[in-house]
Amino acid sequence: MAFIDDSKGYIASAGEARVEDYVALLKPRVMSLVVFTAIIGLLLAPGGINPVVAVISILCIAVGAGGSGALNMWYDSDIDAIMSRTRNRPIPAGRVTRGEALAFGLICSGFSVGILGLATNWVAAGLLAFTIFFYAVVYTMWLKRATPQNIVIGGAAGAFPPMIGWAAVTGDVSLPSIVLFLIIFLWTPPHFWALALYKQGDYGAAGIPMLPNVAGEPATKRQILIYSIILVATTFLPNAIHMSGWLYGAVAAVTGASFLYFAWRLFRSRDVLSMKKIARTLFTYSLSYLFIIFLALMTDHVGQFLGWVK
């Protein structure tokens, strides 16, 4: 069990924080991806939803994700102070106290789940509550510091938002929403391991058992390639279950081939310099990849609705 030491040299006093610090606690960049995938899940779901309720649902999912981000920063403030990427976060920088972050995270989480339940249904609210619990407790408190497979299992937290969006409309969890979940779930390992490959010094200093630090670079590159193959195969599931048409299939094939090409080049890289360069390229590309895949799902759906895509 990990232990948080409060005496890390970053002493904040209550009332020092600015509004921007609270916004930073919500991890707005992570939130943007959550919002995007949740919107797609909501729009792809069969049936209708009142536009006001739809906007409130997305807002709840965003704030819920933000709340879990704040809880993550509350618990991880000791290791955030060590890593260059996270050193300027509000708690290690001394602008927000740990207590303030905890209270903020709990309030955001509680309100988002409650309002989502009242606005839509308790299946969606339950899924949101589980997502927050999974990210804040299962991933942050347990897996992150315990196993190099942390992001494989923890990735589920980031994969739930389209499922919540879907459930907000339908009130259930069905096969298409599980496919959306699987795409993000399998996308997470190659995405984060690519980051870990060129930031492994940071993770090592903080004592986080990321795969490159524990199993080594060759094993990480092999795992990235294996997960990339499974991911690209999974992106064709929407076609297999007749959820999407040729337009999505074509986009998935082209972007998937590029993903595999980068993963293969990373696997074949020999020296550290080129390995880090390709790892960075794969990390950046993987962000665009997920965005394009979900956008293609949406475009295809609209195309089918208008009769342009079969």
Binding site: A17, R18, V19, N50, V52, I56, L59
Partner: protein
Amino acid sequence: MTTPVVPLTEDEARRRRQRRNSIALGLVLGFLVLLFYALTIVKMGPGIFTQRDL
């Protein structure tokens, strides 16, 4: 004529920060009121505006 720039004292800076935070909190609360109002109207349906004889 230009006014000389007087540096803020720590106490003043803190007061300004707290004032900004209070405004932000007020806006959030106001937004929540509107949100619950809109949600109530949507949940009850447009019939809420129709006058009925009791």
